[in-house]
Every structure is written in structure tokens, then in C-alpha cells.
Amino acid sequence: MRDPLVVDDPQVDPDRAEWVSRLAAATNEAIGRLRKFDDPVHTELVDDLQAFHERLVGELEG
């Protein structure tokens, strides 16, 4: 039975935090790798990755 005193806060789930941290690191690596390509498709992709990275970091920082 679910304990009513336990708050289900995904931000404190250590497994999720570890995964989000790995995702953030991998996203950062992908940004660095794709930045060298100077074409519209990859410029947009890097923009998307940067926005995603900011969101992940925001989640990790609470």
C-alpha cells in the first residue's frame, strides 16, 4: 500500500537523476560534435540540443 506520507517527487528519484545526468552529458557531447557542421539542418539540431540540455540541467538543479 502506498505510504501517504511519501511524496512522489520525480526530481528526487536517484535513478532518474542519474539517467538525466547521463543524458545531459551526452547531449553536451553531441552539441560539441555537431557544431562543426555549418548547414541549416545541423544548426537547427544544435539549437534543439541546447534547449534540451538547458531543460535537463534545470531538472537536475531543481
Binding site: 539517467w19 538525466v20 547521463r22 543524458l23 552529458a25 551526452a26 547531449t27 557531447e29 553531441a30 560534435r33 555537431l34 562543426k36 557542421f37 548547414d39 539542418v41 545541423h42 537547427e44 539540431l45 534543439d48 540540443l49 534540451f52 535537463l56
Partner: protein
Amino acid sequence: MPFFVYRLLEPRRVLKRTSRRLFADLKGVLVVFESTGQAWEIRAARNQALFRAINDELRGTSGANTRNALTIACECADVDCVETIDIDVEEYKDIRLNPTHFAVLAGHIYPEVERVLAERPAYVVVEKMGDAARVAAAADRTREDA
């Protein structure tokens, strides 16, 4: 099926997509800027290219575990998704051979922009179609040059 009809029939997906659309309240009148079907196809492909780029890094840095399996991010079109897929290394290599193929969780399929190629116990392989396929291929081309 026209996109607007699909949206009426799929309220869960409508909710998820609506959150990504631009809403503006102008002098009390709610103005909704809807994406065209083509714009959604391109957006979906860009989202999936994002997860694929991240998975390329995960594949390169984390390596396979003792079961020869990788943990990757679900490559679905929902950029809010951060769910994981445990996948065999060789199976993922096969998927990555085609730039229009992606591994997604069951239930994370968007039939208006992709079709199911294979169903596995832990994931589904989908293939992008139309403009989404072209965007996915273009985003993948330079990975080989990187």
C-alpha cells in the same frame, strides 16, 4: 486520416502536442497558431534526430554492459520524453544503418509521420515517411563525417 481528425480521436496525444504549440491571448481572444501537417512532420523528425544524436554519444561513451546491451533514450518524436530503452548492441547497430529508422517505446508511435517496421519486447522500430524521412536522413548524413 487528416491530422485534425486524428487529433479529435486521440485526446492524449492532442494534450501532449498542444503543450508544444504557441498560444497567445490577444485582447481576450485566444489565438491558436496550429502547425500544418508538414510542419509537424518536420518537427517530429527533428525531435527524433535529437535523441539519435544523443544516443550516438551514449553508445560511444558508456559502452555495452555485460549483457551486451545498451541503455539508450527513447527516440520518439516527443521531446519531453526522457524514457529509456534497453537494447542489444547489434540490434541497435542494425537500426542505425538506415537514417530513417528509430527505436521507440511501444505507445510512443506517431502514425501520421512514421510506420512500424518491427515490434520487439522492449521497443518498436519505426520508419519515418515523407518530409520527416528527408529531414531524418539529412540530420544523419554528417554523423558519418564527424
